[in-house]
Symmetry: C2
Subunit: 213 residues, 2 copies
Amino acid sequence: MGTTERVPLTDDRICVAALRLIDEHGLDALSMRRLGTELGVDPMAVYRHIPGKDELLKAIVRRVFAQMPVPADTGPWTVRVHHWAHAYRSVAQAHPNLVLRIVTEPAVVAVAAVQANEALYRALELSGLRPADIASAADVIVDFVNGSVLADVTGDTDVDAAALFLAELDARPDDDVAAQRRVFAGDRLDESRNSFDFGLDIIMAGLESLSGR
Amino acid sequence: MGTTERVPLTDDRICVAALRLIDEHGLDALSMRRLGTELGVDPMAVYRHIPGKDELLKAIVRRVFAQMPVPADTGPWTVRVHHWAHAYRSVAQAHPNLVLRIVTEPAVVAVAAVQANEALYRALELSGLRPADIASAADVIVDFVNGSVLADVTGDTDVDAAALFLAELDARPDDDVAAQRRVFAGDRLDESRNSFDFGLDIIMAGLESLSGR
DNA sequence: ACCTGAACACCGTTCAAGT
DNA sequence: ACCTGAACACCGTTCAAGT
């Protein structure tokens, strides 16, 4: 009973409602009109707090990035990078329908990345790489994680990507896809178990062989 | 004077016009109505050839992927992977406004990937990796290239991401961003010259240290 | 048989009018 | 001073009506 405001439609409430809409019904389901209905206010009331839909999405992404857990600062640097990558990934996977925007909105990512990447840079400082290589290494890791997360998230949506791939493989003349036939001869895609951790290990093995050059 | 059809609005003409709209005015500029106007036909005439907007986008992406140049099958496998990655990247960069869809549309990617990835698999077969590792290696490379291309393409749009990053870095308390301050102390981001080729080299160095395990 | 365009159920955003 | 909602300029898609 402190304030006399009656549910005053804060930025907070707006973002939470909008994010719920996105999480539950997809990115396309977020419309200013539907958001208004969801909040029980006039569709235009939101414009009192946020300039437009783009800004709303930026605010949501900012908020989601802020929820990224800070990975533990313990263990060898390779383990710390794994921790960081999984923390980053968990944020994206918590809101799959938003991931495209997370990975895409450059202004937001620039700001959020400063916050999110600090732990990655701390880990990489322990690797023995030169500062310039640390920056490049961080870029490579971030790009890989973004690509990997994106592949994860888009897979879920509607179709079984693996099945489509195998069907397409069978439909092609032998000569066009000979190498892929050979690679997938015995086990057919079943072992896509942990391409994420594998990729991180590969990248870090590469970095180590570079630093021991 | 062969046929009697008067500019019969083929799938081809539709896709070309739609892609031009996307390339020149952005993904949002593609609407079924505007496409109709562009083609000089009734907005609904397109539906005679393509079931809806989603299918139109899939057709466009398929078409763009088909334009990917087949990289030369010569030189050591590491060079071939570089060739492949640059060919893949060139396709995406030829149509920056479409990249999001290229990377995102799972059904399309599954089909197009079979065609695009064959050269990558051929290169990786020369690496000495076991078949299961070849598949994982291809995943890692594709994910990295996707992430990297995406970062490239979203950067162009509206703001200078590097400037935003540095501004945000300065705005933060020292303790929050100490590692990033140290890394970017001397040269400030100027050397982001070729993070793409660097990343590929890192990944392949990692793969080599794995295969020589 | 083929095409058209009116109509439906939506959008984001502006702005005059109300309380 | 604050909020509302009518209005504008758009959407994708359906479907009855025309030729």
